[in-house]
């Protein structure tokens, strides 16, 4: 988080310039910020507000409307469990409750205290044939079980400790 505070925002100005400062660019700009910082820091939203000449309230409104944006820092690794219909009937809820149980998370608190892991549920990633499916840091895994899920997470944790 401190990194985001102190860093120059020149890169953001370039992005805004690239997309153009019309209102239609707001979502693409926020998506760029979200993918860089994994959340939308307040001072960055203020900066966008000035650069794009949009009221901060409008930007906050968009940021809180869409599920892709977060105003709180997310974990370093993101586990997205698909809870679309197909995954739901094939056992996605067992995977979700296992992760919540093992990492002391719940519906409100979805990031671990060490900020290593964020658990999200997403509505259908369209990989219904491999249900239940999960996305870990962008990679899709199919035919998941609670045990397989925990193995994948332990591997990530191991890599982190080795680094």
């Amino acid at each position: 988080m401190e990194q985001a505070m102190n860093e120059s925002l020149d890169w953001l100005d370039e992005i805004i310039e690239g997309f153009g400062s019309s209102r239609t660019s707001l979502i693409p700009v926020l998506q760029s910020v979200q993918s860089k910082y994994r959340y939308l820091p307040e001072h960055v939203m203020s900066h966008i507000s000035e650069k794009m000449a949009l009221p901060l309230s409008n930007i906050y409104g968009v940021a809180t409307f869409y599920a892709q944006f977060s105003t709180q820092p997310k974990g370093k690794h993101i586990v997205q469990v698909c809870d679309g219909t197909a995954c739901h009937v094939r056992g996605a809820k067992d995977i979700i409750s296992r992760i919540r149980k093992d990492f002391k998370l719940d519906a409100e608190k979805n990031t671990t205290d060490d900020k290593l892991l964020t658990l999200e549920t997403v509505a259908c990633i369209g990989a219904c044939a491999m249900a239940p499916a999960v996305i870990v840091d962008g990679h899709v895994y199919g035919h998941m079980t609670p045990d397989k899920m925990m193995n994948i997470i332990s591997e990530i944790k191991e890599e982190e400790t080795n680094e």
């Binding site: 998506q31 679309g84 219909t85 197909a86 369209g126 990989a127 899709v140």
Partner: protein
């Protein structure tokens, strides 16, 4: 530009079946072409750099999201390695295709010219495929799915009529030449040179194409309404915000054959008089976005998008807008707000987007499958298109077959086919020999179909009469182990969560309905709750602002209609017949299967399991906290829920 298409058509016909020898030989440096041919080839080279089809054999690897998740990436590497090691680079050509539809059995590999269809292929099979099948023409039995090795003869494909999906999985989706060779942009060419915009609209109207995204509105009529507007600036928008959980046909079309969508949008633009288009794609579909972006770039390079398309003076360009995770944005006025950079909230209609849409200009919005159907109508004529389907539902529809079904995947069938044919003939029946209970169609907006509907024709009107809808075409098959009350609760949880909060009936109504459903699934429901649910459902349906709220009660109303006994079991008997609702299920040990290994007793956090070593154990119901730890620990599957 026009002549490139004509030349390609006549002289450089190029697909898996009929490779274009001249072009291939020229690209490989084997043949000189006439100056004119060279020019064509050079024009194409910018986008067509891969070696093409002058090969002994071709291997088509499915690179759809499904097969990739099953591990396709290392397959490609392995094929490359083996082919190189054997020095067969000039004999075997690999193409990476989009989705072939049979996702359950991925990764799929198809071998040409034999048309052998191999399933669940792993890198260990690669050596054998090259050695046995390609070099010695033998079938590898263990990679064949039940019966015939040839795709067209498999039950899964035999009963399908693949039109929109005909090229998906057959062509290299990242190469416009494959698409052009397979007939892409011919419909656009016909429209631009031989037809007026009005004639295009007439053709689409006569074909009887209805919106494939849910509404089922006649596409030709929608276009006509936008075309009639006097404004000079108009837009076409493609709704690729496929948010309906359990549907993935739009994703597969964008990944497997993006040019059909580009062509369909260009046709709509020509028909209504627009020069700009937007494709609104969910951010959850990164591969579809990447493929579509590439397809746009390639079409621009070939002069099929942009200024003066094919030399016809018609201009049309398009942009991709990425969604940011809001189901309500599938509603057209919310989608427009989202493209404009606002919160994706719907607005009251009228005005309809056809009158005042994107940036307050007349806008035509259709979904992916609808646009992808249009080039077929223009290429083959409306009579051809209307030759399949029923009186009021023409053409084919893609269904995403998921849930407790044996052959999960995408199927394209003529409208009017029966549910029985889809589930049992194409889908192979219920997974693990279970019993068919219901099919949930149309996702969170739809309803369920039961045994009595198995022989009903699947078309817009029959489904509506049964209290369901075609919707986007998600078809989730449920067996006797699925609790219908729980599935209705699941959908209500989804819509309640996705309600944008603008209108009260939807915002408050869905919340109340969800709470009542939770009460019932937890065993605290009363008969009064059931009546309230039905009444409230009608209010939310009638009073909500947009399609999300208007359809949100459907799963509950439809399950109450067809599975009232299950609701009563939860409310009166406090039992979940399917054993799915956690608070209502009880755990039991099958004394015959139990070997007395004591594992369950050790993991039970509440000491609710008693029994001595090598003797059948027992669960004390009053101590059991229903955590399920025992089930996971039992090596003999002796613990069950009821």
């Amino acid at each position: 530009m026009n002549n490139i298409i004509e030349k390609l058509d006549k002289e450089m016909y190029n697909n898996i079946e009929k490779p274009c020898l001249e072009y291939c030989r020229y690209m490989l440096g084997l043949q000189e072409l006439s100056a004119e041919q060279k020019k064509i080839a050079d024009d194409l080279t910018g986008v067509y750099t891969k070696k093409t089809n002058m090969f002994k054999a071709q291997i088509a690897l499915c690179k759809g999201t499904g097969c990739q998740a099953s591990g396709e990436i290392s397959l490609k590497q392995k094929f490359d390695e083996v082919i190189k090691a054997k020095g067969l680079e000039n004999d075997i050509h690999i193409i990476e295709t989009g989705c072939r539809g049979f996702c359950e059995m991925g990764p799929i590999v198809e071998i040409f010219p034999q048309h052998y269809f191999y399933v669940r292929v792993t890198p260990n099979h690669v050596e054998d495929i090259i050695e046995k099948t390609i070099l010695n023409n033998q079938v590898i039995d263990e990679l064949v799915f039940e019966g015939s090795p040839v795709a067209e003869e498999m039950n899964f494909y035999k009963k399908q009529t693949r039109r929109v999906l005909a090229e998906s999985g057959m062509i290299d989706a990242e190469n416009i030449n494959d698409a052009v060779a397979a007939g892409a942009y011919k419909g656009l060419k016909r429209a631009l040179f031989d037809m007026t915009p009005t004639e295009v609209i007439d053709e689409v109207t006569k074909a009887g194409l209805r919106g494939r995204g849910g509404g089922g509105f006649l596409t030709g009529l929608k276009w006509k309404l936008t075309a009639q507007q006097k404004e000079t600036i108009k837009y076409v928008v493609c709704n690729a915000d496929e948010g309906d959980p359990g549907a993935f046909m739009d994703r597969s079309i964008l990944e497997g054959d993006p040019h059909k969508v580009i062509e369909g949008m260009a046709l709509a633009a020509y028909a209504i008089g627009a020069e700009e288009g937007y494709v609104y794609v969910r951010a959850e579909y990164p591969l579809a976005i990447a493929r579509y972006k590439l397809a746009i770039e390639q079409a621009e390079k070939m002069g099929l998008l942009g200024k003066n398309i094919m030399g016809s003076n018609f201009n049309f360009s398009m942009k991709i807008a990425q969604g940011a995770g809001a189901f309500v944005c599938g509603e057209e006025s919310a989608l427009i707000a989202s493209i404009e950079g606002k919160r994706g909230m719907p607005t009251p209609k009228p005005p309809f987007p056809a009158e005042r849409g994107l940036f307050d200009k007349p806008t035509n919005i259709n979904n992916v499958e609808t646009y992808a159907s249009v080039p077929l109508i223009l290429k083959n004529g409306w009579e051809w298109y209307a030759s399949v389907g029923t009186e009021n539902s023409r053409g084919t529809k893609i269904f995403a077959l998921t849930g407790k079904i044996k052959n999960t995947g995408l199927v394209e069938v003529p409208m009017g086919i029966t549910l029985r044919e889809i589930i049992f003939d194409i889908g192979g029946g219920i997974k693990n020999g279970g019993k068919f209970k219901a099919a949930q169609i149309g996702g969170p907006s739809g309803g369920c179909l039961t045994e009595e509907h198995l022989d009903m024709p699947m078309d817009y009107d029959s489904l509506q009469a049964a209290g369901a809808m075609v919707g986007s075409g998600g078809l989730v098959v449920l067996d006797d182990k699925t609790c219908m009350v729980e599935i209705a609760r699941f959908f209500m949880h989804f819509t309640q969560d996705e309600s944008c909060g603008k209108c009260i009936p939807c915002r408050v109504g869905t919340k109340q309905m969800l709470e009542l459903m939770e009460k019932i699934t937890q065993g605290n429901g009363t008969m009064e709750d059931l009546t309230t649910l039905e009444e409230l459902g009608l209010v939310v349906k009638n009073a909500s602002l947009c399609g999300l709220g208007k359809t949100a009660p459907n799963p509950i109303l439809s399950t109450i209609r067809y599975f009232r006994d299950e609701y009563l079991a939860h409310i009166v008997d406090k039992k979940c017949p399917a054993g799915e609702c956690e608070s209502l299920r009880t755990f039991h040990i099958d004394a015959e299967k139990c070997k007395g290994c004591t594992k369950c007793a050790k993991v039970c956090p509440n000491g609710a399991i008693i029994g001595s070593v090598k003797q059948a154990h027992e669960i004390l119901q009053d101590k059991c906290i229903k955590c399920g730890a025992c089930i996971a620990s039992c090596p003999f599957n002796a613990i069950y829920t009821a």
